[in-house]
Amino acid sequence: MSQEQSFTLDGQPVSFEDGQSIMVAARAAGIYIPHLCFNPEFKAHGSCRVCLTKVNGRIQASCATPAAAGQTVESETEELRDIRCGILQMMFVEGNHICPACEKSGACQLQAVAYYVGMLEPHYPHFYPRRTVDASHPDAVIDFNRCILCELCVRASRDVDGKNVFAVHGRGIHAHLVINTPSGRLGATTFSITDKAAQVCPTGTILIKHRGYESPIGRRLYDRQPVDVAGDVAQVPESQGGRRHD
């Protein structure tokens, strides 16, 4: 039996097991580190960079950094909050995130994390990219305007559903979510709203058709509790305002 190992996170000792990342160990200890592309059911992706922490003085993504004994990890510092805020601001201006009209407003993890880090305005000029809405599927809509390229739907569809419906095409600023069919339309796939891929989106990109705004303002997931208390939208059952199917 291995000896208990620990590191410090903002001065607090956090124990971990071999192979755990800083993020996973922190979650097990009940400590919240803001994140979007991380989902404990999937292998760490390290793409959104929101979970950046300072590990022994070096900034690293906590979801992709293995925990090690004696590490000194900083998370809730002004410097890191500013960096996270800047990353979120860039996400907001790169897409078209019209929160006032979005069905997921109040239950959107992107919005909730932005509130958590104290983002009050977009700061950067909006790109206003021209993106489309794919409503060709009978039960679901993909609004590409809201995609932040976390690839959770890509991973869920490929690794859990075994359907490989989604992919990311292009590089850098040209990277964008695509549907893996010759037509590029969701309606041409075997995607189902009961798929894991339909339950993991942290934004309002994947929506159930003909439904919306059923949770009154004040009772939506993140109206009731901030994201560090309420948790990830993908982990909360649908009956409680999240996306997870019971």
Partner: protein, 507 residues
């Protein structure tokens, strides 16, 4: 009337502009063209902002529309929310809502009517009644009302607050909340919420009665001015309940002509396009609707409180009905065309809204649990109509087979009054300004006329695709216009400096 909407040689006349129009919602201006002897030859109300909602909701899922379009307005978003919600009901094949859902929507609408009427009269229009038209500009506003008539100002604030609280309780926020979902609503009232709203309601009803009494006294004190000022004889359009009662949420369309005869009655609003048409004029972003059978010259009409009170057979709440009878008695059996009576009828409706809220709050259906009807097969077109505070509001959507908006047409309340407002300012210009050297107090008379209609200019600017547009490229440092593109009313795009016609799509 000698003042024209369009004169032959405008370049020879002097131009006086009232911009911005004050104490109205949105941005507009009035232009007057005068000859050398101060005779006004042309008068127009221009709407100079452009919103574009009809265009940018294209391609969006239909169930988002009630949430998006309410952003048209910060004063009457509930009307847009509900009109779009009713259109969405049509799209999802729901003809009848569960009683709880319909009554919650009605409560929301009444709360909005109360707050909107309160904000217009007390905050915006009351200086027109409480102070002379030539009162100091710095004093002729709500701050002046607070200073000189603090109790009236306080009542205005609290009446509005009450209406806003009704909206907040139902829709979660005072402005831009969310209540409607396809086929219903997303919440009912709790007992605690109902009891909270009942707390101050009797006081609101009492204040509603009092303001009508004051209104009557103002009219009786200066009858000639009130009955003549900006008054025009018009047709009237509104929704009407099946039994002829005033109904702000649902009903058939009734249009009365100037003499009180029916042009059409209890017309299913799904057929509105058969009876109403819209005309676009190159000098305004606001369309000019008219009754099709009468044509654009004769078919313009008025909507809003005056139209509704003229049109209805009765008001289904006792105190407001008594006030309606007393008001209509002024016309001795005829319609009342007095433009300033818009304010009076607006306050009758404020009283009605307060009384109707009370009736609804005592209805156990408001606490029910059946919030939405089962959805039916998807339809391609949906039309929703309500009586917004400023008049009849039409929302018409067409969707494709995937459920995305293909086309939208909004005839917003104020748009219906476009021609009437222009007629009223011409009347005022001719009667009060013509031949006089124009001063600020005289120009204020024009604004008093426009303000009577409680126009919401920001709601009403949707003449997309047909109005002329000018796009100027300005060098930031020097302010020099580097380039200028003009799209004419016929859709031709040209460069203003180099008059070459560009290929469509190049601009």
């Amino acid at each position: 009337m000698n003042i024209a909407e369009t004169v032959a040689e405008p370049e020879k006349l002097r131009r006086v502009v009232i911009e911005p129009l004050s104490r109205v919602e949105g941005h507009g201006k009035v232009t007057l063209l005068l000859d050398e002897e101060y005779h006004i030859r042309q008068a127009r109300l221009h709407i100079v902002e452009f919103r574009g909602f009809e265009k940018f909701i294209q391609g969006r899922p239909y169930w988002e529309v009630p949430i998006i379009v309410q952003r048209l307005c910060g004063i009457c978003p509930v009307s847009h929310h509900l009109a779009a919600g009713k259109a969405v009901d049509q799209l999802v094949g729901v003809d009848e809502l569960p009683p709880t859902a319909e009554k919650i929507r009605r409560l929301l609408h009444l709360g909005q009517t109360l707050q909107s009427h309160a904000v217009h009269f007390f905050h915006l229009a009351s200086p027109d009644f409480l102070f002379d038209y030539d009162d100091r500009v710095a004093h002729r506003n709500v701050v002046g009302v607070i200073a000189d008539h603090p109790e009236i100002a306080r009542r205005g604030v609290l009446l509005r607050k009450y209406g806003q609280e009704v909206i907040r309780v139902v829709a979660g926020k005072r402005v831009h909340g969310i209540a409607t979902v396809p086929g219903g609503v997303n919440k009912a009232l709790t007992v605690a919420e109902r009891d909270y709203l009942l707390t101050d309601l009797d006081q609101m009803i009492e204040w509603g009665r009092d303001v009508i009494k004051r209104m009557r006294q103002a009219f009786e004190k200066n009858p000639g001015y009130f009955t003549d000022f900006a008054t025009i004889r018009s047709h009237y359009l509104s929704l009407i309940r099946a039994d002829g009662a005033l109904d702000l949420y649902h009903g058939g369309l009734r249009a009365k002509n100037r003499r009180g005869g029916l042009i059409f009655d209890h017309l299913d609003y799904q057929r509105y396009e058969q009876v109403l048409r819209e005309q676009v004029k190159p000098w305004s972003y606001m369309k000019f609707p008219f009754i099709n059978s009468l044509g654009p010259e004769q078919g313009w009409y008025r909507v809003g409180p005056l139209a509704r009170i003229n049109n209805c057979d009765f008001i289904p709440t006792p105190l407001a009905e008594q006030e309606r009878r007393d008001f209509m008695a002024m016309g001795r059996g005829q319609l009342i065309h007095v433009t300033l009576a818009y304010h009076w009828t607006r306050m009758i409706e404020l009283l009605y809204a307060a009384e109707a809220i009370k009736e609804l709050l005592h209805d156990p259906d408001l606490l029910g649990s059946e919030l939405a009807a089962p959805l039916g097969p998807l339809a391609q077109e949906g039309i929703g109509v309500v009586e917004a505070p400023r008049g009849t509001l039409f929302h018409h959507y067409r969707i494709n087979e995937d459920g995305l908006i293909e086309k939208a047409n909004l005839i917003v309340s104020t748009t219906n009054n476009n021609q009437a407002m222009n007629e009223s300012i011409r009347q005022v210009a001719e009667r009060y300004l013509n031949g006089k050297e124009l001063t600020e107090p005289l120009l204020n008379q024009i604004e008093v006329a426009v303000r009577a209609y409680d126009p919401c200019l920001s709601c009403a600017t949707h003449a997309l695709g047909q109005m002329p547009l000018v796009v100027e490229l300005v060098e930031e440092a020097s302010g020099t216009v580097v380039d200028c593109l003009v799209r004419d009313a016929d859709g031709t795009i040209r460069n203003a400096e180099f008059p070459r016609v560009l290929e469509p799509g190049l601009a």
